[in-house]
Amino acid sequence: MKKLMIGILGLTCLFALAGCSRTYANGEVYVYNWGEYCDPETLEMFEEEYDIKVIYDEYETNEIMYPKVEAGAVKYDVVCPSDYMICKMIEHDLLQEINFDNIPNSTNIGDQYYKMSEEFDPGNKYSVPYCWGTVGILYNKTMIDPEDTVDSWSILWDEKYANSILMQDSVRDAFMVSLKLNGYSMNTLNDDELEVAKDSLIEQKPLVQAYVIDQVRDKMIGNEAALGVIYSGEAIYTQRENPDLEYVIPKEGTNVWIDSWVILKDAENVENAEKFINFMCRPDIALMNFEYITYSTPNDAARELIEDEEIRNSEIAFPDLSQYNDLETFIYLGDEGDEKYSELWKKVKSE
């Protein structure tokens, strides 16, 4: 019996040792990214090549990410927020300027994306674009009345599709749909316009099956709903899984967004963070990520490498934005603006 115990003890020690046998000569980097927003294999490749351990966490919305980063419970180095959130983080002094000399691969990113970034990051000092896209309607061709053409947000208010509509469960995205429907800017702070948008959302609520974020993908693939508000990046993936699905950018205009890498002011591993971002901008890695997450890459060099011509020139992945009117990018509205939207959203949700 005693021998057995010693044997077990020995084995446990062995496993424990095997577990930590991998040491990383160059320290670590703390990355905080959107859920399912990069190919896990690329992280392993990074660890392998640079001998840096990647501690990787995920979040579901910008709003969930922000308080965690602000509170600083975990000292993240690299985060990948969206446009308006980057602006908020710059204003709250949470970010540090990036030394682009240390990220030579950042030149692979197309100039137009840097120009788009100017809206929230004037002078392109703080962010390196990682993904971009639009927000639109994903619909199931078999569940839509053949008489209807899906080209407007108003179809989400059509009683025919009651209980078959999926809305985004995040404040800004939900209000974007409603504000655009009513012909207003999605960055408005005008009380009357917001009131109208709120009333529209309340009016729509009985028709909505559920307010979801990431689940919209699985529900649409599973024929659970006819219409869903979705990020363009999910469209290619969902179409691959369910050919009945189609993505459109509504004619009233929509949100063009960019998610970019930023380095936090309190980062303890700045050098590793730079290496990480540089690695993510390498064409082959950007391509791997694009193929895994199917979100449009701003990395022109990576786009050149896409073998499937249909995808490379896909209207969904790389739309020609000049053909759409009223495209906007979210801007940060200040704490008061945030609060205004939150209050209204709470009213919608509690109806």
């Binding site: 308080p67 209980n163 099956q209 307010y211 599973g222 024929n223 939150s342 949700k349 509690s350």
Partner: protein
């Protein structure tokens, strides 16, 4: 011989309680009674009076009372069968019954709730099956009914187990005596079994009512984020709107309801005998 050092054995628990219960509680009170700049305010507490918050609170109270009532109706007969008062008293299979009953609890609460989401969906497993049999589809996902269902499903064991314990403590001879003296089964139940099982019933009620009242995961997953309970409001203040002060203030209000139900349960259950699972 009484060992005077025996009380030090509780030190690990006291340290645990201090770090993980008392300190966080103080922090909740600190945030609840201050505003963003750190100045004293009670506006976070009075915020419960706004339409959205009070509605979420009443809805949560309403739904959790319904689920508690359903749990009692389901659990009491089951507990009578499982305890030695049941017809097949003493049979060994009762142990297995209890075992089977708590078996699902080995799986994570969250996973079980997500599983129900998939099962209940309009195009989900249950409806596909009903469809196959040409029966009308079950349309309860994303409604308050689904939330009540989730609460009952998840918290039912917390009602059954204290009840079984309390019923098992009843001396079978007391029941036999009642029968001997001419009480019929209804009288025996109302005068003997029910009063004697009251401690178990009360702690069962507390253990179902409190988690139901405070839950946000069940209402989120089975209610499609369309139905806002007070738990969701508090959770969102912390995770989405980064207003920790308001979230803490509303938590304090919720605590009042919890404390009331705990006080009620200790009044009825002085020996805390029903709480042991």
């Amino acid at each position: 011989m009484k060992n005077k050092y025996i009380k030090f054995l509780s030190a690990p628990y006291i340290i645990w309680a201090l770090i993980f219960i008392i300190v966080p509680l103080l922090m909740v009170f600190y945030y609840g009674f201050t505003d963003k700049s750190g100045a004293f305010t009670i506006s976070n507490i009075t915020a419960i009076a706004t339409h959205e918050h009070s509605k979420a609170l009443w809805l949560a109270l309403y739904l959790s009372l319904i689920s508690t009532a359903i749990c009692i109706l389901l659990a009491y007969p089951l507990a009578m069968i499982l305890s030695h008062i049941g017809e097949n008293a003493g049979a060994n299979k009762d142990k297995y019954m209890v075992f089977i009953f708590i078996l699902p609890m080995w799986m994570n609460f969250l996973l079980r709730t997500i599983a129900w989401q998939t099962l209940l969906e309009n195009d989900g497993v249950i409806n596909s099956f009903l469809n196959l049999l040409h029966l009308p589809a079950l349309r309860i996902i994303n409604t308050p009914a689904a939330i009540v269902f989730g609460m009952v499903y998840n918290f039912l064991p917390f009602m059954v187990l204290p009840l079984v314990n309390a019923l098992n403590k009843i001396d079978i001879n007391v029941i036999n005596a009642a029968r001997d003296l001419g009480a019929n089964s209804v009288q025996t139940f109302l005068r003997i079994i029910l009063p004697l099982s009251l401690p178990g019933l009360i702690s069962g009620i507390t253990m179902v009512f409190i988690p139901s009242l405070t839950t946000f995961i069940v209402s989120d997953l089975l209610g499609g984020s369309k139905i806002l309970l007070i738990g969701n409001v508090i959770e969102q203040e912390f995770t989405q709107y980064s207003n920790w002060n308001l979230g803490s203030g509303l938590s304090i209000v919720l605590m009042i309801f919890i404390i009331v139900s705990i006080v009620l349960s200790t009044i009825f259950d002085k020996d805390m005998e029903g709480t042991a699972i």
